[in-house]
């Protein structure tokens, strides 16, 4: 047998001081943080807990900066191997920063990076004392990634088991989030009535557990379903319910998607000029939070609407803005044929409408 005693340094930062310590850390440029680590109390578990909490809160509003912050923290904790906190705390913080980084990458469309971060999170959480709960959170993120990759059957198969795990662990909010993925998968699979029922139950439960965030996102999805079913009035009611909550939460991803949903609804009703405004509002939100892939996707949809309005030269400009980003970010490996056709047609100054629709149709599926 071999073993060692874990030594436990006394904490230098109290939980009361931790929030201001976290603010100091995040206000310090990343390049300076390692040098100022002692001054910033960066290896103190209270500081790290508060920083992780802030990063989780900012995932939907600034995913790009959260990814960079999480990346820095993970590397800082990882090497050189630092004695952080008590018992399993170093492993927990490694896992948590990896999970946050992976979630940010998922939101930013960086799927391979996201998977790599989730692998790191699982590896680190393996050494924690509450590993099942932490693994379940990683499993949720992996399921969300599958949904974004349109693996609907897998999501519908795996979600109930994960919901059961969360319920067993008494993590009711996470269970609700998981049912949310199930509802989106139903929606994506055109099982709109089942999806609508599930979203309505999620709205009720979100109100019960006091989760404004889930309530707003479920409302947004109900809006979309009403939109698909041509139920404009009901859709507007859901938008009116969701928007103020999203604004209060500063959930800019949610706000952008809400504009996106409204834009589609307006478009389906033939209100093209209004839909252009709504698409542009969505694009502005995506752009301000660094979601380049989504900005490119909106460019394509805008091009389609502009073609419908007979504004071909404006449409060409929109496509030209989108193509380099799509290529650079390797966004649509499955849609490469449509991408090539579209690029060629733009070169010939006559947009291939079918290729454009194939490409943004693919985006619509993966965005919702």
């Amino acid at each position: 047998m071999s073993g060692r005693v874990l030594r436990f340094p006394h904490k230098a930062v109290s939980s009361a001081e931790a929030q201001s310590a976290a603010l100091r850390v995040l206000a310090t440029p990343i390049a300076d943080r390692a040098r100022l680590a002692i001054h910033l109390a960066l290896d103190e578990p209270e500081t790290l807990l508060a920083v992780c909490g802030r990063l989780r809160d900012q995932l939907e509003s600034s995913p790009a900066s959260v990814r960079d912050d999480a990346d820095f923290l993970y590397r800082f904790i990882e090497k050189p191997k630092r004695a952080i906190g008590l018992f399993d705390e170093r492993d927990y913080f490694l896992g948590e920063t990896a999970l946050i980084g992976g979630t940010a990458c998922r939101i930013l469309f960086r799927r391979d990076d996201a998977r790599r971060w989730f692998d790191r999170a699982e590896a680190a959480f393996r050494h924690t004392l509450n590993a099942v709960a932490e693994w379940s959170r990683v499993a949720y993120q992996r399921l969300a990634l599958r949904l974004e990759e349109h693996q609907l059957d897998e999501v519908l198969e795996l979600a109930p088991s994960l919901v059961a795990s969360f319920e067993k662990l008494e993590m009711h909010k996470d269970a609700l989030k998981c049912r949310f993925l199930e509802a989106v998968a139903l929606k994506e699979g055109d099982r709109l009535s089942e999806a609508g029922d599930l979203f309505r139950r999620i709205c009720q439960d979100a109100e019960t557990v006091g989760s404004d965030k889930l309530l707003a996102i479920a409302s947004y999805n109900l809006l979309q379903i009403h939109g698909f079913l041509g139920q404009a009035e009901e859709a507007m009611v859901e938008a009116a319910r969701a928007l103020p909550i999203l604004r209060r939460l500063n959930n800019r991803v949610g706000i952008a998607k809400l504009h996106w949903g409204l834009a589609y609804l307006l478009r389906s009703q033939g209100r093209l000029a209004e839909s252009l405004d709504a698409f542009r509002a969505a694009q502005t939100e995506f752009s301000e939070i660094g979601m380049r892939a989504d900005v490119a996707a909106v460019h394509l949809v805008l091009a389609d609407v502009l073609l419908e309005l007979g504004q071909d030269s404006q449409a060409t400009l929109e496509v030209l803005a989108a193509l380099p980003v799509i290529e650079e970010e390797k966004m649509v490996p499955e849609g490469m044929a449509a991408f090539s056709l579209l690029r060629e047609s733009v070169r010939q100054q006559r947009i291939n409408r079918q290729a454009l629709r194939d490409l943004h149709g693919y985006f619509e599926e993966i965005q919702s």
Partner: protein
Amino acid sequence: MNTILSKRVDEVDSVFKRTLPMVHSSLISAYRLSEVEATEAERDLEVWFHRLSRRGSGAQVPPKSLRVSLLAAACQYGRSFQIWRLRGSPSRDKSLNDVLSREPQEMASDLAHHFAEDS
């Protein structure tokens, strides 16, 4: 500190205090720590347990659900301490060897089971 947060801290505190006698007796009786060593361990366990309750997963569950993790941490502490003290050699105390041969999580689950029966 807002009221909800303060209530949560009180709940965590209450769970810790209710579990402490079992933690103490495990450290003393099962892992053969001295009173002083056990008290020192319990101080660290209290700090750690409060932070556990504020983690990404811990923050949303009722504190009593984290009891088994507290017991696992206590068992891990006791086990690591004794293995270090024995420098890898077996003890002359057979029951201590039996305890050290078990995984802390397994020990903790048994203790939590007894706790549920006692409550």
